[in-house]
Protein backbone atom coordinates (compact mmCIF):
# COMPACT_ATOMS: atom_id res chain seq x y z
CA UNK A 1 0.00 0.00 0.00
CA UNK A 2 1.27 3.46 -0.90
CA UNK A 3 2.40 5.35 2.19
CA UNK A 4 4.04 8.74 2.77
CA UNK A 5 5.55 8.81 6.24
CA UNK A 6 2.68 7.92 8.58
CA UNK A 7 -0.03 8.82 6.02
CA UNK A 8 -1.54 5.98 4.00
CA UNK A 9 -2.32 6.69 0.34
CA UNK A 10 -6.11 6.59 0.55
CA UNK A 11 -6.27 9.41 3.12
CA UNK A 12 -5.85 13.12 2.44
CA UNK A 13 -4.57 14.18 5.85
CA UNK A 14 -3.30 12.62 9.06
CA UNK A 15 -6.34 14.02 10.85
CA UNK A 16 -8.73 12.26 8.45
CA UNK A 17 -6.74 9.05 8.84
CA UNK A 18 -6.93 9.31 12.63
CA UNK A 19 -10.65 10.02 12.69
CA UNK A 20 -11.37 7.11 10.38
CA UNK A 21 -9.29 4.72 12.50
CA UNK A 22 -10.97 5.94 15.68
CA UNK A 23 -14.45 5.49 14.23
CA UNK A 24 -13.42 2.02 13.06
CA UNK A 25 -12.42 1.12 16.62
CA UNK A 26 -15.73 2.43 18.02
CA UNK A 27 -17.62 0.27 15.51
CA UNK A 28 -15.50 -2.73 16.53
CA UNK A 29 -16.39 -2.00 20.16
CA UNK A 30 -20.08 -2.15 19.20
CA UNK A 31 -19.56 -5.71 17.98
CA UNK A 32 -17.81 -6.45 21.27
CA UNK A 33 -20.82 -5.12 23.21
CA UNK A 34 -23.04 -7.51 21.24
CA UNK A 35 -20.57 -10.34 21.86
CA UNK A 36 -20.47 -9.84 25.64
CA UNK A 37 -24.18 -8.90 25.63
CA UNK A 38 -25.12 -12.50 24.76
CA UNK A 39 -23.17 -13.77 27.75
CA UNK A 40 -24.70 -11.19 30.07
CA UNK A 41 -28.16 -12.25 28.84
CA UNK A 42 -27.38 -15.95 29.46
CA UNK A 43 -26.18 -14.98 32.94
CA UNK A 44 -29.34 -12.99 33.69
CA UNK A 45 -31.68 -15.81 32.59
CA UNK A 46 -29.83 -18.49 34.55
CA UNK A 47 -29.39 -16.34 37.63
CA UNK A 48 -33.10 -15.68 37.68
CA UNK A 49 -33.89 -19.41 37.25
CA UNK A 50 -31.33 -20.76 39.77
CA UNK A 51 -30.85 -17.96 42.28
CA UNK A 52 -29.85 -20.22 45.21
CA UNK A 53 -27.14 -21.99 43.19
CA UNK A 54 -25.82 -18.70 41.80
CA UNK A 55 -25.77 -17.16 45.29
CA UNK A 56 -23.86 -20.07 46.84
CA UNK A 57 -21.47 -20.18 43.87
CA UNK A 58 -20.81 -16.46 44.07
CA UNK A 59 -20.06 -16.65 47.79
CA UNK A 60 -17.12 -18.99 47.09
CA UNK A 61 -15.33 -16.21 45.21
CA UNK A 62 -12.72 -14.11 46.99
CA UNK A 63 -14.20 -10.63 47.22
CA UNK A 64 -10.85 -9.05 48.23
CA UNK A 65 -9.13 -10.37 45.12
CA UNK A 66 -12.06 -9.30 42.92
CA UNK A 67 -12.26 -5.77 44.37
CA UNK A 68 -8.47 -5.44 44.30
CA UNK A 69 -8.45 -6.42 40.63
CA UNK A 70 -11.15 -3.81 39.93
CA UNK A 71 -8.93 -1.11 41.42
CA UNK A 72 -5.91 -2.41 39.47
CA UNK A 73 -7.86 -2.28 36.20
CA UNK A 74 -9.22 1.23 36.84
CA UNK A 75 -5.65 2.36 37.62
CA UNK A 76 -4.49 0.80 34.34
CA UNK A 77 -7.20 2.77 32.50
CA UNK A 78 -5.88 5.94 34.12
CA UNK A 79 -2.29 5.21 33.06
CA UNK A 80 -3.53 4.38 29.54
CA UNK A 81 -5.38 7.72 29.37
CA UNK A 82 -2.18 9.42 30.55
CA UNK A 83 -0.19 7.63 27.82
CA UNK A 84 -2.64 8.94 25.18
CA UNK A 85 -2.40 12.46 26.61
CA UNK A 86 1.41 12.30 26.73
CA UNK A 87 1.49 11.25 23.06
CA UNK A 88 -0.86 14.09 22.10
CA UNK A 89 1.28 16.74 23.81
CA UNK A 90 4.59 15.28 22.63
CA UNK A 91 5.98 13.98 25.95
CA UNK A 92 7.68 11.00 24.33
CA UNK A 93 9.41 9.71 27.48
CA UNK A 94 6.15 9.70 29.42
CA UNK A 95 4.35 7.79 26.67
CA UNK A 96 6.70 4.86 27.26
CA UNK A 97 6.48 5.16 31.05
CA UNK A 98 2.67 5.20 31.12
CA UNK A 99 2.41 2.38 28.57
CA UNK A 100 4.75 0.24 30.66
CA UNK A 101 2.74 1.08 33.81
CA UNK A 102 -0.44 0.00 31.98
CA UNK A 103 1.17 -3.26 30.92
CA UNK A 104 2.41 -3.96 34.45
CA UNK A 105 -1.05 -3.33 35.93
CA UNK A 106 -2.66 -5.50 33.24
CA UNK A 107 -0.22 -8.28 34.06
CA UNK A 108 -0.99 -7.96 37.79
CA UNK A 109 -4.70 -8.33 36.96
CA UNK A 110 -4.04 -11.51 34.96
CA UNK A 111 -1.79 -12.88 37.71
CA UNK A 112 -4.52 -12.39 40.32
CA UNK A 113 -7.03 -14.04 37.97
CA UNK A 114 -4.69 -17.04 37.64
CA UNK A 115 -4.53 -17.31 41.47
CA UNK A 116 -8.34 -17.27 41.61
CA UNK A 117 -8.62 -19.97 38.95
CA UNK A 118 -6.12 -22.12 40.86
CA UNK A 119 -8.24 -21.74 44.02
CA UNK A 120 -11.30 -22.94 42.15
CA UNK A 121 -9.34 -25.92 40.80
CA UNK A 122 -8.16 -26.80 44.33
CA UNK A 123 -11.71 -26.52 45.68
CA UNK A 124 -13.18 -28.82 42.98
CA UNK A 125 -15.24 -25.99 41.52
CA UNK A 126 -14.32 -26.50 37.87
CA UNK A 127 -17.46 -27.66 35.97
CA UNK A 128 -17.19 -31.34 35.09
CA UNK A 129 -17.17 -34.77 36.72
CA UNK A 130 -15.05 -33.67 39.71
CA UNK A 131 -17.29 -30.73 40.60
CA UNK A 132 -18.50 -30.76 44.21
CA UNK A 133 -19.93 -27.81 46.13
CA UNK A 134 -19.40 -29.69 49.43
CA UNK A 135 -15.70 -30.39 48.81
CA UNK A 136 -14.25 -27.21 50.28
CA UNK A 137 -16.16 -27.23 53.56
CA UNK A 138 -15.51 -30.98 53.93
CA UNK A 139 -11.74 -30.59 53.37
CA UNK A 140 -10.60 -27.48 55.26
CA UNK A 141 -6.90 -26.62 55.19
CA UNK A 142 -4.75 -25.41 58.10
CA UNK A 143 -5.07 -21.85 56.77
CA UNK A 144 -8.87 -21.88 56.98
CA UNK A 145 -10.66 -20.30 59.92
CA UNK A 146 -12.68 -23.14 61.60
CA UNK A 147 -15.57 -20.78 62.47
CA UNK A 148 -15.79 -19.54 58.90
CA UNK A 149 -15.63 -23.11 57.58
CA UNK A 150 -18.44 -24.22 59.89
CA UNK A 151 -20.54 -21.30 58.70
CA UNK A 152 -19.78 -22.14 55.07
CA UNK A 153 -20.71 -25.81 55.65
CA UNK A 154 -24.02 -24.77 57.18
CA UNK A 155 -24.70 -22.44 54.27
CA UNK A 156 -23.95 -25.18 51.70
CA UNK A 157 -26.19 -27.67 53.51
CA UNK A 158 -29.04 -25.14 53.64
CA UNK A 159 -28.60 -24.56 49.90
CA UNK A 160 -28.80 -28.34 49.27
CA UNK A 161 -32.05 -28.47 51.25
CA UNK A 162 -33.47 -25.66 49.16
CA UNK A 163 -32.25 -27.04 45.85
CA UNK A 164 -31.23 -30.75 45.89
CA UNK A 165 -29.78 -30.40 42.39
CA UNK A 166 -27.49 -27.58 43.44
CA UNK A 167 -24.32 -29.28 42.17
CA UNK A 168 -25.71 -29.24 38.63
CA UNK A 169 -27.09 -25.72 38.89
CA UNK A 170 -23.91 -24.32 40.45
CA UNK A 171 -21.99 -25.69 37.50
CA UNK A 172 -24.04 -23.33 35.33
CA UNK A 173 -22.82 -20.44 37.48
CA UNK A 174 -19.19 -21.57 37.26
CA UNK A 175 -19.46 -22.24 33.52
CA UNK A 176 -20.59 -18.63 33.08
CA UNK A 177 -17.97 -17.41 35.56
CA UNK A 178 -15.14 -19.11 33.68
CA UNK A 179 -16.63 -18.27 30.28
CA UNK A 180 -17.10 -14.58 30.98
CA UNK A 181 -13.93 -13.95 32.99
CA UNK A 182 -11.97 -16.17 30.59
CA UNK A 183 -13.09 -14.17 27.56
CA UNK A 184 -12.35 -10.98 29.45
CA UNK A 185 -8.87 -12.31 30.29
CA UNK A 186 -8.37 -13.21 26.61
CA UNK A 187 -9.15 -9.60 25.72
CA UNK A 188 -6.63 -8.49 28.35
CA UNK A 189 -3.97 -10.77 26.87
CA UNK A 190 -4.62 -9.34 23.39
CA UNK A 191 -4.47 -5.84 24.90
CA UNK A 192 -1.16 -6.68 26.59
CA UNK A 193 0.23 -7.81 23.22
CA UNK A 194 -0.88 -4.51 21.67
CA UNK A 195 0.75 -2.63 24.55
CA UNK A 196 4.07 -4.41 23.91
CA UNK A 197 3.79 -3.30 20.26
CA UNK A 198 3.06 0.29 21.35
CA UNK A 199 5.94 0.29 23.85
CA UNK A 200 8.28 -0.81 21.06
CA UNK A 201 6.97 2.05 18.89
CA UNK A 202 7.28 4.56 21.73
CA UNK A 203 10.92 3.58 22.31
CA UNK A 204 11.51 4.28 18.62
CA UNK A 205 9.94 7.74 19.12
CA UNK A 206 7.13 6.95 16.69
CA UNK A 207 4.32 8.77 18.51
CA UNK A 208 4.14 12.53 18.15
CA UNK A 209 1.41 15.19 18.52
CA UNK A 210 0.82 14.81 14.75
CA UNK A 211 0.71 11.00 14.73
CA UNK A 212 -0.52 9.08 17.77
CA UNK A 213 -3.45 7.11 16.33
CA UNK A 214 -2.25 3.66 17.47
CA UNK A 215 -1.96 4.81 21.10
CA UNK A 216 -5.42 6.37 21.02
CA UNK A 217 -7.10 3.41 19.31
CA UNK A 218 -5.51 0.81 21.61
CA UNK A 219 -6.48 3.10 24.50
CA UNK A 220 -10.15 2.89 23.48
CA UNK A 221 -9.91 -0.90 23.39
CA UNK A 222 -8.25 -1.00 26.83
CA UNK A 223 -10.91 1.24 28.39
CA UNK A 224 -13.63 -0.97 26.91
CA UNK A 225 -12.07 -4.04 28.55
CA UNK A 226 -12.07 -2.08 31.82
CA UNK A 227 -15.80 -1.30 31.41
CA UNK A 228 -16.63 -4.99 30.86
CA UNK A 229 -14.90 -5.84 34.16
CA UNK A 230 -16.73 -3.00 35.95
CA UNK A 231 -19.96 -4.92 35.20
CA UNK A 232 -18.54 -8.43 35.70
CA UNK A 233 -17.34 -7.70 39.23
CA UNK A 234 -20.70 -6.93 40.91
CA UNK A 235 -22.57 -9.52 38.84
CA UNK A 236 -20.23 -12.41 39.61
CA UNK A 237 -18.77 -11.57 43.03
CA UNK A 238 -21.46 -9.74 44.96
CA UNK A 239 -24.57 -11.95 44.75
CA UNK A 240 -26.32 -12.57 48.07
CA UNK A 241 -23.39 -11.33 50.14
CA UNK A 242 -25.75 -9.85 52.72
CA UNK A 243 -27.20 -13.29 53.63
Amino acid sequence: MHRTGDLYGHFQTLEQQKETATLGMWIFLVTEVLFFGGLFLAYTINRSAFSTAFGIGSNTLDITLGAGNTVVLIMSSLTMAMAVWSAQVGKKKWVSIFLIATLVLGTVFLGVKAIEYKQKYDHHLIPGSGFDMRYRSAHPTAADDPKEMALEKEEVEKAFEKDPDINAHSQLYFSLYFGMTGLHALHMIIGAGLLVWLIKGSFAGRFTPQYNTPVEVVGLYWHFVDIVWIYLFPLLYLIDRHR
Binding site: T20, L23, I74, G219, D226, L238
Partner: protein, 80 residues
Protein backbone atom coordinates in the same frame (compact mmCIF):
# COMPACT_ATOMS: atom_id res chain seq x y z
CA UNK B 1 -12.23 3.42 43.24
CA UNK B 2 -14.70 5.09 45.57
CA UNK B 3 -17.43 3.46 43.47
CA UNK B 4 -15.82 0.03 43.98
CA UNK B 5 -15.68 0.62 47.75
CA UNK B 6 -19.34 1.69 47.88
CA UNK B 7 -20.38 -1.29 45.71
CA UNK B 8 -18.66 -3.78 48.03
CA UNK B 9 -20.01 -2.17 51.22
CA UNK B 10 -23.55 -1.97 49.81
CA UNK B 11 -23.45 -5.67 48.86
CA UNK B 12 -23.36 -6.58 52.58
CA UNK B 13 -26.49 -4.57 53.39
CA UNK B 14 -29.81 -6.33 52.84
CA UNK B 15 -31.72 -4.15 50.40
CA UNK B 16 -33.75 -6.98 48.89
CA UNK B 17 -34.07 -6.67 45.14
CA UNK B 18 -32.46 -3.24 45.28
CA UNK B 19 -29.02 -4.80 45.93
CA UNK B 20 -28.57 -5.69 42.27
CA UNK B 21 -30.10 -2.40 41.11
CA UNK B 22 -27.68 -0.43 43.30
CA UNK B 23 -24.64 -2.52 42.25
CA UNK B 24 -25.44 -2.10 38.55
CA UNK B 25 -26.28 1.58 39.05
CA UNK B 26 -22.85 2.25 40.56
CA UNK B 27 -21.23 0.16 37.79
CA UNK B 28 -23.05 2.28 35.20
CA UNK B 29 -21.83 5.51 36.83
CA UNK B 30 -18.25 4.15 36.81
CA UNK B 31 -18.55 3.02 33.18
CA UNK B 32 -20.00 6.40 32.15
CA UNK B 33 -17.09 8.21 33.82
CA UNK B 34 -14.61 5.98 31.95
CA UNK B 35 -16.41 6.70 28.65
CA UNK B 36 -16.69 10.43 29.25
CA UNK B 37 -13.22 11.16 30.55
CA UNK B 38 -10.83 8.35 29.60
CA UNK B 39 -12.43 7.77 26.19
CA UNK B 40 -12.86 11.53 25.69
CA UNK B 41 -16.57 11.45 24.83
CA UNK B 42 -17.05 14.49 27.09
CA UNK B 43 -14.33 16.69 25.67
CA UNK B 44 -15.31 17.06 22.03
CA UNK B 45 -18.02 19.66 21.47
CA UNK B 46 -19.27 18.06 18.25
CA UNK B 47 -20.37 14.87 20.05
CA UNK B 48 -24.16 14.64 20.36
CA UNK B 49 -24.88 15.13 24.07
CA UNK B 50 -27.37 12.25 24.33
CA UNK B 51 -25.11 9.74 22.62
CA UNK B 52 -22.58 9.55 25.44
CA UNK B 53 -25.07 8.29 28.00
CA UNK B 54 -26.90 5.82 25.76
CA UNK B 55 -24.22 3.12 25.50
CA UNK B 56 -23.66 2.57 29.17
CA UNK B 57 -27.37 2.35 29.74
CA UNK B 58 -27.38 -0.68 27.50
CA UNK B 59 -28.26 0.42 24.01
CA UNK B 60 -25.38 -1.01 21.99
CA UNK B 61 -26.58 0.36 18.68
CA UNK B 62 -25.77 3.87 19.93
CA UNK B 63 -22.11 3.13 20.50
CA UNK B 64 -20.83 4.43 17.16
CA UNK B 65 -22.84 7.60 17.63
CA UNK B 66 -21.12 8.36 20.89
CA UNK B 67 -17.78 8.51 19.13
CA UNK B 68 -16.74 12.14 19.39
CA UNK B 69 -15.50 12.16 15.83
CA UNK B 70 -18.54 10.57 14.18
CA UNK B 71 -20.15 13.79 12.97
CA UNK B 72 -16.91 15.03 11.49
CA UNK B 73 -16.04 11.75 9.75
CA UNK B 74 -19.47 11.39 8.24
CA UNK B 75 -19.41 14.91 6.82
CA UNK B 76 -15.95 14.65 5.24
CA UNK B 77 -16.32 15.67 1.60
CA UNK B 78 -13.92 12.90 0.56
CA UNK B 79 -16.17 10.24 2.08
CA UNK B 80 -19.44 11.47 0.60
Amino acid sequence: MLGTYVTVRAAFVDLGKMNIVLALGIATIKATLVVLYFMHAATVPSAPSWSSSAPSSGWPSCWPLRSPITPRVLTKPSLV
